[in-house]
């Protein structure tokens, strides 16, 4: 792998899980220290952790979403802590609810400025979306891996939509290959 893979940095991991039972959110929010619950703004309880830094959204159906973590391990750790806290309140949580990673957002860089106009035309206008009037980035939808890459004029990119940290690397390599093929990278 090229050295550019080192520029990949995971910014956010979102995972979901299910406690398997309905919850009384009013009660839960008062019992969990630091939990926020404003049903008028948002229908779930927001429970923030400092270590690892993340926010967990707990819904009435018992579904749980953890967001803001910086790695897949952090997500598991955070949800483990949340489940522990809920268990302490006397709510019977099954020993290990399956945790499913839904989305990983990574940033990376090609370390050189890009001519998005040329890229837009070179990559074929079907796969990409480049509307500088609406958004400064070029949206490149890959089929394999199934992720969306946002390319910016500065050469920085955002890779999102993957479920696996490796997909960011594959996507970066793919983008790099395609751009080199087109002669748009030095």
């Amino acid at each position: 792998m090229s050295t550019l893979a080192d520029t990949i940095h995971i910014e956010n991991v979102v995972a979901s899980s299910d406690l398997g039972q309905e919850l009384a959110l009013d009660q839960l929010s008062t019992d969990l220290p630091g939990a926020e619950y404003n049903p008028e703004d948002f229908p779930g309880v927001v429970y923030r952790l400092q270590e690892p830094k993340s926010a967990t959204l707990i819904f009435r159906s018992g579904k749980v979403v953890c967001t803001g973590a910086k790695s897949v391990d952090d997500v598991h750790e955070a949800l483990g802590i949340v489940f522990g806290d809920i268990r302490e309140l006397g709510i019977d949580v099954t020993s290990n609810p399956p945790i499913e990673v839904q989305n990983i957002v990574s940033s990376a860089s090609l370390e050189q400025s890009l001519n998005l106009n040329a890229i837009a035309i070179g990559l074929g206008l079907e796969q990409i979306e480049y509307e500088p009037e609406q958004f400064p980035g070029l949206v490149y939808r890959l089929d394999d891996p199934d992720v969306v890459v946002l390319l910016f004029g500065s050469g920085k990119l955002v890779i999102t939509g993957g479920q696996n940290p490796d997909e960011a690397e594959q996507a970066l390599a793919h983008v790099q290959d395609r751009l080199t093929e087109l002669g748009l990278l030095d």
């Binding site: 890009l114 001519n115 998005l116 106009n117 206008l125 979306e129 480049y130 500088p132 910016f152 004029g153």
Partner: protein
Amino acid sequence: MSDSTIRTYSSDQRQTDNDETVSTPDEDVLTCPECGGQVIDDEEHGESVCVDCGLVVEENGIDRGPEWRAFNSTEKDEKSRVGAPTTNMMHDKGLSTNIGWQDKDAYGNSLSSNQRQKMQRLRKWNERFRTRNSKERNLKQALGEIERMASALGLPKEVRETASVIYRRALSEDLLPGRSIEGVATAALYASARQLSTPRSIDEVANVSRIDEMEFKRTYRYIVRELSLEVAPADPAQYVPRFASDLDLPDEVERRSRELISNAQADGVTSGKSPVGLAAAAIYASSLLTNHKVTQSEVSEVTDVSEVTIRNRYQELLEATEAAA
């Protein structure tokens, strides 16, 4: 034989010297039955002739053009026996009958009140028959909307025609359910203006549209993706002439603006920048450089770009030009 058109390719061994040989893949291949040579149309004599052996393959060909000649447009109007060409800008392609709104007969005399009432009723029924189902009514409304917005934006007929075709495609591919007619019509118009290199900014289009900007942008992205429209990114230089004339600036400014923009593009500082913003800044910068000063707020007013954006892009344009010099 000078106006002869070549109909076919000869068989492969003999297309060596003729550089006027043009292949027309969509036409049926016709070769000489005697020698296999290429057959050409001799329009003067109405014959198809083999260029090699001179065999007349077909004679007494039909000339499908008009049998009359006209030397000016009045004569043409008098002699022509056909109506306007079909157009996608009308829901029935302009093929239906229209009953005029003036209550006049063929001689220009006013109708009697009895006849007038009759025409009124006929007009009503004609209107009802013209649009039979909901899709046609939908199309009629949308095309009316495209027409209205295009004329408010001063877009030429080709753009309206293309917008109409895009809308028809959206309708036939069932993209309409869940989106408003006005929204898709606006998006179709914006896309066609972009495709035909006469772009209007999103703000301008949104201003004349009946839907809000967010919905318009969303619909636009949706139909571009679903119809694979291939809209190339707008070139800032395409906005320049219009803005310059809105500000009453001379050609010199326009020329200078194009220069600034192409310098910036060569320097690669335009990536991800709004083309409208770049055009506005180029106009402002070149108005200063050529002593036809306009203020930032004047430019901002005409272009719908904020003064802050103009100032920022202005700096970048000048730096790019310095770098190029």
